[in-house]
Symmetry: C2
Amino acid sequence: MIVDQIVKPDFEALESALSESQGLDKVLVVFATCSVEWRGNRNGSIGTGQRIILCKPDGAISVHRPNWARAIARQGVNSTLELYPLETGFLLYASKSKGKHTIHIHLQEVPLVVVYSATDKAEPEHRETEEEMHAFIQSNPETLEDGLRILHHEHPIDVGTIDFVGADRSGNRVIIEVKTQYAKLSHVDQLQRYVKHYNRTDNASVRGLLVAPEFGEKTKRELRESGLEKCRLNEFQHQDLGPNQSSFERWQ
Amino acid sequence: MIVDQIVKPDFEALESALSESQGLDKVLVVFATCSVEWRGNRNGSIGTGQRIILCKPDGAISVHRPNWARAIARQGVNSTLELYPLETGFLLYASKSKGKHTIHIHLQEVPLVVVYSATDKAEPEHRETEEEMHAFIQSNPETLEDGLRILHHEHPIDVGTIDFVGADRSGNRVIIEVKTQYAKLSHVDQLQRYVKHYNRTDNASVRGLLVAPEFGEKTKRELRESGLEKCRLNEFQHQDLGPNQSSFERWQ
């Protein structure tokens, strides 16, 4: 891991750092006063301010303000990054998908560029709460309703994949959609679509059940009006995790 | 704009840089070999790799790998950032919403920390393509259908806001939902919800029309089966924008 620092780079220094970083394992971190304009899925611009620009070797670029976690402008891998001289500074230009996505960054002052030779071969492990909820429901269907049995998990139909197909005590089919977040109107829509398209192989009637940790008033009303049901499953609220409660055992 | 560089900080140096940055206009950019674990809306972890961590004065934190534009872990403003000593390095711990959202970062090697005194008072201007599409439809409703008139723009009803309510040549009401992206099944659901809940003040019948640049086969079929209609409006594909085609006039 090598960290090179270029203080107040001129055009040549910044240009060569940028072109050398592309394709190699070098990230360019540009500390700059700049204005930015972006076009593509979102269009917008922002005037002059002090920001941090990450230029990654795979062509990804993101512009960070000194506040908020999210980048103000961001473009994915395989962007082309180029530098042009301007009368007052430099233009850092990122272009992707034949110019459909572009970011123009007017670099007015660049006190520091850090060239970071970094490699990261680790694979992230996503342990979504959704998976945990699914495993719980699979093992404990009676938590949703007495006598409920699970027939299929992640059952594909033509208009999506049903989380669970169950059978209730009276032999009705139950289409179950599971949400880890506050239930929204769009979740009701989705459940309704599944119920509508579910192909009954027998004469059993079909119920729709939305499972979520919380339901708002509008969602409850929409469920009632659509003849659908709800089940509040709040076991999966996240618990308080202190600094010593990481699952990385080796940490302490 | 002041950029301070701390090469290979020890615990005290990193701890005081972190605590001094919070609340002041200082961003901490930490270059580190680290492993990370995150909990909250998403749960996951990643083993050891070389990464860049942005700690912002408003409490926002994001961990960036040397590839992809998106952060691997991110937490919003008002997080509490703390540093703890470990046998092998430091634990950078971010906690938000009473521990519901946490990030544990095991810093194993920290070759450089940059303390960036940055201010950014600029307000971003979002010129969403959606706004442009709305303005276009408002001015040119006949592009969607001969004789169509717009009655309301952004018409609130109980279950959302209808983009446009129009009247067709035969006096029917037309509920119009506008999408800037490829039309999806969930957009059909949304339109169907609006049509269902739209309160007719007269005896006119109600049609539903989904407007988007592209439609897939499943979406088309679902629209047909739901008795809804579609209109392809591809004028709003993004044009090719070169480095000299920014709208910042002062740039060249």
